[in-house]
Symmetry: C2
Subunit: 124 residues, 2 copies
DNA sequence: TCAAGTGTACTACGAATACTAGTACACTTG
DNA sequence: CAAGTGTACTAGTATTCGTAGTACACTTGA
């Protein structure tokens, strides 16, 4: 179901995240169905369970799956709707980036501020 | 006029950038006045000229100064106005980050896309 | 109850990246 | 043309990132 390319420059955990995103958004993985366990998938791909864990953590933070301690990870129910709204945000981001460049805001300055705003929001 | 803190975790060139930003925005350095040369400032701070150069490059990209080959770097005239507009962009960014987090978009995903949009715009 | 399954936290090591320095080159001015 | 300026290239060190190793905590069913 999942395959990784060790030649690829992209980190393994990132490749896994993207493939699961596609599977979930396209409905191949149905809501509330169980994800492969970190160990079984790690065994299947011949990599470390912690790498799967890192991918799952990312998927969780992005709302694609939810974890249940001692039981496993499961596909989130509202992943589809959420994705629509996310796409809207991405369009706005693209537009904002365009204006930023015109104003001479560097890519680094832009992303650094975004990170800071993310951190500030976490505290609340 | 400029001081650096080697204990600080922030890179030296970044410290320099921030201090000059403040000086320029507050009008301490007047438009079209000459910046310290990369060598003289490097000598004064006992660091490498290339580090100053990196700071100046960043300031140039953000529109705070402009370079003249063989003559030096000078304070940009419209730094004040440009900054007002930049602050507007930053407010929008903060708002967009807030909505992104609610939608479960990770900080990494957000910044990675921003960088991609930056790169895409460069080609044109 | 407990064994086998699950996720999670901590540390560690190698690779990749970032920061700074060294050196050399090109342009401007008096 | 000499002394000042910015700029490009390379290189070494420090920091960060990705992955693996190990150990711990929770859930379930026999």
């Amino acid at each position: 179901m999942i395959g990784i390319d060790l030649q690829n420059r992209k980190p393994i955990y990132e490749q896994i995240v993207e493939q699961f995103q596609t599977l979930i958004v396209n409905g191949v993985l149905e809501p509330d169905s169980q994800m492969p366990s970190v160990r079984s998938l790690a065994m299947e791909l011949s990599i470390n369970p912690n790498t799967i864990q890192k991918a799952y953590s990312a998927l969780e933070q992005e709302g694609y799956i939810y974890p249940v301690k001692g039981r496993g990870n499961f596909v989130s129910g509202n992943a589809g709707l959420r994705l629509k709204k996310q796409e809207g945000v991405y369009r706005e981001l693209r537009e904002l980036v365009g204006r930023s460049r015109e104003l001479g805001i560097s890519c680094e300055e832009f992303t650094e501020r975004a990170e800071r705003y993310y951190r500030e929001g976490q505290k609340e």
